[in-house]
Amino acid sequence: MNDYHFDIQLFLNNKGIVDAAAREEGGFSLGFTSYPSELLPPEGSIFTWNDVSFRFPVRSADGFDNFVLEEQRMSVVPRNYTSIAILGASTNGNFYEELSLLYQREETYRFKLKLSNFIEQESWFGEAVALECAYGRCRTSDIDYYKPKIYCVTETLPDHLLFDEIVMGDNPFMHIFAITIRGVN
């Protein structure tokens, strides 16, 4: 089995991780609370959690480091995959949307991607907390009342599923930082 790090660089559309010096640029939640960059893995680094490796996004020229769901259609190398693992979080609520997997434009599988609010004290949907920061970065200061989290959702796929496209739902309050698809060589 191999972990394939899906390249999300083309889809980045939100600034969620900021340095203290650029705190005013953070726009993760509607109240502009973001993750402090010094408490998360460096951009572009490989981060392993619970035996699954992820590639953390490289900040784009616009300063984006994650993407919110806007019905993106993402092409992947067609293979037989066994699971899909997603690092992400919601803002200003606990949200879910359908995520579809397609092969040659035909849907082969779909599941509800559920992501809890990033500052929830405990995950609402029971998903695992992969990363947790000791404080949140607001526009004027760091607030330790908030403990921003990034959750890991793993969907086990049925019987070595063949697909070549991922289609996201539409919800600008659900954010994704990394996608790893596990499959056979």
Binding site: N92, F95, N117, Q121, P172
Partner: protein, 327 residues
């Protein structure tokens, strides 16, 4: 002793009430109002899941007594507070955040908030904020100031609070209450009984009820799209209204799950209510976001509302199914 808990679908009133009663009462059985109204006051149109006050709602089946106490002056009111605290009762009071030293709006912005006043020692009053998980003490002058501020925000000619006898006897719901709550919501969703009536103690007039409220929602959205300068005030009222609708739908799903009774459409109905609640919450966020990106979020909000309307229609059929299955 006060113990806080978190619940993302409770506002500062319901979480305060649920928090106080939780050690003694199955609080999921308190909240069942799940209707839909469009109301109007001073040319502003708002949307609500209930036109009944919270204390009428929680006492209907549980028989928990909550007294609405009113006074004409702040000094009379403080005497009243002292009397009830002396009897060991907890008081639900509204305060103005502008005068609350622990609030981020302290001395910057006026805003109504509900907290529990639960103890007095000397001239110090202990306040439990169940919504923000804060304990704080107010001296009598701060308490007076914050409650006078709330009266001004409420535009009320009295100062009032709700007295909770938290250890009083209560009735768990039975099957008859359960069906009654469903039937009550269904009746209001398909009828027009309240259209044209004024909500007691307010200047709010019901202009529509049931599924036809969506027509009013779409009209309000269209008027925002026509007049970009009205974004701020309209997104603010949409935010509050969608948040409350989301809360009511979710709390009713908990109500339906709270009675140990099985019937074929139970799980499906609870899931549908959860979906509707979820989508109202998305609309709430889109209302806020529309202040930044305007028509993009407004369009998404209208699309999401169409989905909610379809699900609300299905929900009414589910209510009928449940009543049939339980008859």
């Amino acid at each position: 002793m006060i113990q806080f808990f978190s619940h993302p679908f409770q506002d500062c009133i319901t979480i305060s009430v649920s928090g106080v009663l939780r050690p003694y009462v199955q609080t999921e059985q308190l909240w069942y109002q799940n209707k839909l109204f469009a109301v109007k006051a001073n040319d502003e149109i708002r949307f609500a899941a209930s036109i009944e006050s919270f204390h009428t709602e929680i006492s209907r089946y549980s028989k928990i007594e909550v007294d609405h106490v009113k006074a004409n002056t702040i000094d009379e009111f403080i005497d009243c507070v002292d009397l009830h605290l002396g009897m060991g009762k907890y008081l639900l009071v509204s305060i103005d955040n502008y005068y609350s030293p622990y609030s981020q709006d302290y001395r910057t912005m006026h805003g109504l908030h509900w907290v529990i006043l639960w103890k007095k020692e000397g001239r110090t009053y202990s306040i439990a904020d169940y919504f923000y998980h804060h304990h704080i003490d107010f001296d009598v002058e701060t308490l007076k100031e914050s409650m006078e501020g709330a009266r001004n925000l409420n535009q009320a000619d009295y100062i009032g609070c709700f007295v909770m006898n938290q250890k009083s006897e209560w009735n768990p719901i039975n099957l008859c209450n359960y069906k009654d709550a469903i039937e009550d919501n269904l009746t209001y969703m398909i009828g027009k009984s309240e259209v044209g009536s004024t909500i007691p103690d307010t200047n709010l007039v019901v202009i529509e009820q049931g599924l036809d409220v969506f027509r009013v929602m779409y009209q309000k959205i269209a008027s925002i799209e026509d007049d970009l300068s009205s974004y701020d005030e309209n997104s603010g009222s949409f935010k509050l209204d969608f948040e409350r609708l989301s809360n009511h739908r979710y709390l009713f799903s908990e109500f339906l799950g709270s009675l140990d009774v099985s019937y074929p459409s139970k799980h499906e109905t609870i899931e549908l209510l959860t979906d509707i609640s979820h989508d109202y919450r998305v609309c709430r966020n889109l209302a806020i976001k529309s202040a930044f990106d305007g028509s993009k979020s407004i369009k998404k909000m209208a699309d999401r509302l169409e989905k909610i309307e379809r699900n609300e229609q299905t929900l009414l059929k589910q209510y009928e199914n449940i009543l049939r299955e339980l008859s």
